[in-house]
């Protein structure tokens, strides 16, 4: 049965105050009635914590679930660089329309214009909100908020707290959430893995969660469910995400009918500390601010064996400066990543396996002195030294691109509601304003816009317009979801193999980075699809998940996550195959100009792809056409 694409509910009329008009027209609910309505929020990152705290403040009875032991540990905590906001006070004339245009262009015209506009409009209020919570943003000497420019932007509109902006924003939201817990308006359930969505008459009404200490399966029901569960870069095994970041909540919802939009839009960050040993578990991001002063280069000769400092300047290829004279080392993430990969594939890479390039600060140190550079990047230099064992003040750092952010996610309409009525999706988990490529410092902005400002209005509108009875936890739909989850767990525990889950995850990751990473082509994608299917079959017979269903069982947690990654990986490959163009971070080798630049196809692909899961057979591809009125698609050029 095909459900097709629901109405995206994009506002009509002038773009500029479309959100304000929409919001003013939304129905309200009296605080008294709100107090009788349960809302479930899954996830306590920026999106989840901000939404839960705000909904509780409005009077709803909120239950929050997270797999972490504390809301403060959500991976938002790791964001380093900063958060964008268009504030009219800035001296360089930045404004809402400029941030709007940069977001739409940055996403290579694969996002909704109304959504980008709304984000830019809301952005300024986010900063005020965070300041009021006590977020210690960097300040100018005079005491006003400081900004810097970030990731390809020509204006300075990124607010920051040293290299720990995500941490500070998250703690602001976390503390606000804990206040609501203390006030008795939020029930906080930590160490819960959400493993299934419960729908009643086609409407989202609850979840099944596994208590990660007792192992017990629990049913939680409510009037509406908000998934704020973050991104899925961990499908690549090695990424900048935390090790437990996963796709399970949105993937299970997808299997229950929620459309999945543009799964192949994934961002690879160029400046990460590369991998070495097979047991390496993580790629650590180093802020791309390093590219302000660092020069990226490789030896001109393939197979070079000399130490970097004994390679003379003439024998070095500063390839970003060579190829992109205007932007040089500051070319956007996807372009920088692709060039690094091409040269490494051509045998020019350095370090273990030839999988890295140099990021060299020695010229900057010579020009400005070690102290000046230490003052700017001291914490990054220490981090690099700690992980790699090399001293970056004397030896160029080695970097390589790593999966970092996923623009794709569950399809949502302008109200952030998925194609399952009553199921809202916020933050990185949804597909929204970043199109085919996200601008630096815009994810934090989007997560908080969703949680503090958008969802609280649109969730209320949904609840006002949809009267419903409470769902008892022994309702047949709950029992069925519980039983199917129980079966999935038993299947994994009963598998008779001997291979640990990690081993499959590593293999999946290497297929995905190779076939569906920085650059893609049709044959590779088709082969990738076969490889992932075969791997999934092997997983089913060869995996060993030790222990029992009850009690803590980290391997079972992993097995459930990896199982869902297999499904998602196949959808990503299909999506990348179907999108016969290069746009943003999605680079199809067949679709490039003679100079090797991406070639977008606005005639056939100016749309959002939304995949529908089929119980039997292949998923169905729907498309939501994109219209541009305020800004016409232009070609990205960084030459």
């Amino acid at each position: 049965m095909t459900h097709g694409l629901p109405d995206p509910r994009i506002p009509t009329g002038p773009l500029a105050d479309a959100w304000q008009r929409t919001r003013e027209g939304l129905p309200l609910i009296s605080p008294l009635r709100k107090g009788q309505m349960d809302v479930l929020v899954v996830g306590t990152g920026l999106a989840g914590a901000s939404a839960a705290a705000t909904l509780a403040q409005q009077g709803y009875r909120v239950t929050v679930l997270s797999f972490h032991d504390s809301p403060r540990r959500a991976h938002s905590v790791a964001a380093q660089g900063g958060i964008n906001a268009a504030r009219s006070v800035a001296v360089d004339g930045d404004s809402v329309s400029r941030l709007f245009a940069d977001t739409l262009k940055g996403g290579d015209f694969r996002a909704r214009e109304a959504g980008c506009q709304r984000l830019a409009e809301i952005s300024s209020g986010i900063i005020d909100q965070c300041v009021a919570q006590g977020v210690p943003f960097a300040r100018e000497y005079g005491g006003s908020l400081a900004t810097r420019s970030f990731g390809g932007a020509l204006v300075s509109r990124t607010f920051y707290a040293r290299g720990q902006t995500g941490q500070q924003l998250l703690y602001g939201a976390y503390q606000t959430l804990m206040r609501q817990v203390e006030l008795g308006r939020v029930q906080l359930l930590t160490r819960r893995d959400v493993l299934e969505l419960i729908t009643v008459d086609g409407i989202a009404r609850g979840v099944v969660a596994r208590h990660l200490l007792s192992g017990e399966l629990e049913v939680h029901t409510a009037r509406t469910v908000l998934l704020c569960t973050g991104g899925y870069s961990n499908v690549y095994f090695l990424s900048t995400n935390a090790l437990k970041s996963n796709t399970s909540a949105i993937w299970r919802a997808h299997r229950k009918g929620a459309l999945f939009a543009n799964p192949c839009f994934t961002q690879i960050h160029p400046t990460c500390i590369p991998s070495g040993d097979v047991f390496q578990s993580k790629l650590t991001l180093m802020s791309e601010s390093l590219r302000n002063d660092g020069r990226v280069w490789l030896p001109k000769t393939p197979g070079e064996t000399r130490q970097p400092d004994s390679i003379p300047k003439e024998e070095r290829d500063y390839f970003l400066e060579r190829l992109y004279p205007t932007y040089g080392n500051m070319t956007p993430r996807d372009v920088a990543s692709r060039r690094a990969r091409e040269l490494c594939n051509a045998g020019r890479g350095v370090g273990p396996g030839g999988r890295s390039v140099y990021l060299d600060l020695t010229d900057a140190i010579k020009a400005e002195g070690k102290d000046a550079i230490a003052a700017r990047y001291g914490n990054l230099m220490t981090m690099y030294e700690r992980i790699s064992g090399d001293d970056p003040y004397h030896k160029p750092m080695r970097i390589y691109p790593a999966p970092h952010y996923t623009m794709g996610g569950l399809w949502v309409d302008y109200h952030l509601m998925s194609s399952i009525p009553g199921l809202f999706v916020l933050g990185e988990a949804n597909y929204s304003e970043h199109g085919a490529n996200r601008l630096g410092a815009s994810a934090l902005m989007q997560g908080l816009a969703d949680g503090y400002f958008i969802a609280p209005s649109t969730v209320t509108a949904w609840l006002a317009g949809t009267p419903a009875e409470d769902v008892a936890t022994d309702h047949p739909a709950c029992r069925e979801a519980l039983e199917s989850t129980y079966r999935r767990i038993s299947q994994l525990l009963n598998s008779e193999g001997t291979t640990p889950v990690n081993s499959f995850h590593r293999e999946l990751g290497s297929v995905m980075i190779d076939r569906c990473g920085i650059s893609r082509h049709a044959d590779g994608l088709r082969q990738g699809l076969e490889q992932v299917k075969a791997l999934e079959q092997r997983f089913e017979v060869e995996v060993r998940v030790p222990g029992e269903a009850s009690g803590p069982n980290a391997e079972l947690e992993k097995a459930l996550r990896v199982k869902d990654f297999f499904g998602l990986a196949q959808l990503m490959l299909r999506d990348a195959l179907a999108r016969e163009e290069s746009c943003g971070a999605h680079f199809r080798e067949e679709h490039q100009s003679d100079e090797g630049e991406a070639r977008r196809d606005d005639v056939n692909f100016a749309h959002i792809t939304a995949w529908e899961h089929m119980a039997d057979g292949e998923p169905i591809r729907h498309s939501e056409p994109l219209q541009f009125t305020a800004l016409q698609p232009s070609t990205r050029s960084y030459k």
């Binding site: 905590v77 500070q168 935390a242 992980i387």
Partner: protein
């Protein structure tokens, strides 16, 4: 390199624990200690044994999930480093490392190296916030904050809630954690209205949770991966009489 791990194994809080020793030959010096535990766990799983439970997530020193004692030191020998950022190259070939969980009354054991630290969340819930609601915020520039003041507040706001300070303290005091939060909010104009109430509420909660009191041994400062200064504890003591 070769390495011997002597690990505290305890199935649950109500069962006795004991050390189990594993020798690993041929591990890379470029692995973190947690990656060595991953490697050991893969071996244990393949041979049908129960893998070692330990907390972790970000593996880049920022989420505060990881934490255990390495040869009696919280987060191991390297200063300003949480245990996920501790690499084998810090140790000699053939080193023997004893791994123990945090031990503190307010952090009940869960399994092996895992303990429950939700007491920290309850300390924050008791008053570690500015009471403000969405949509009620004034212009962020309306309250100027000097650069030095902002930097100082930031330096205390970076606490990752790992619990090393508690684990290293002979009284299992949470003073450094609490002082860091009081100093973060107490140094900013936004934190002023609730300053006295916050100090009282969190410190009473600290006692209720079973954390001990501070006798100025400064072990907490030495192990804190965020290098939060113990001077803030003296600052907090003055704060109480505020």
């Amino acid at each position: 390199m070769k390495i011997t791990l002597r690990i505290w194994r305890q199935r649950s809080a109500d069962q006795p624990g004991k050390y189990q020793t594993h020798r690993l030959e041929n591990v890379s010096r470029d692995l973190s200690l947690l990656e060595v535990l991953d490697q050991l766990n893969e071996q244990l799983i393949s041979s049908g044994e129960r893998p070692v439970s330990f907390e972790h997530d970000c593996r880049e020193g920022i989420c505060g999930s990881c934490g255990f004692l390495v040869n009696g030191q919280a987060h191991g020998p390297r200063a300003a480093t949480s245990v996920c950022q501790l690499y084998l190259r810090e140790f000699n070939d053939g080193a023997e490392l004893t791994l123990d969980p945090w031990r503190a009354k307010a952090f009940p054991p869960i399994q092996d190296l895992m303990v429950e630290r939700s007491a920290f969340d309850r300390l924050i819930a008791a008053g570690g916030y500015c009471s403000t609601g969405t949509g009620q915020a004034p212009d962020g520039n309306a309250l100027p904050v000097g650069r030095e003041q902002a930097t100082s507040a930031f330096s205390t706001a970076t606490c990752i809630g790992c619990g090393a300070c508690v684990a290293s303290c002979r009284n299992a005091s949470a003073s450094l954690f609490v002082a860091a939060k009081l100093a973060h909010l107490g140094q900013l104009p936004q934190g002023q209205p609730e300053r006295a109430r916050r100090a009282d509420a969190i410190q009473s909660q600290m006692e209720a949770e079973g954390f001990g009191s501070c006798s100025s041994n400064l072990e907490c400062e030495a192990v804190c991966p965020q290098e939060i200064s113990a001077d803030w504890i003296s600052w907090m003591h003055r704060e109480k009489r505020h």
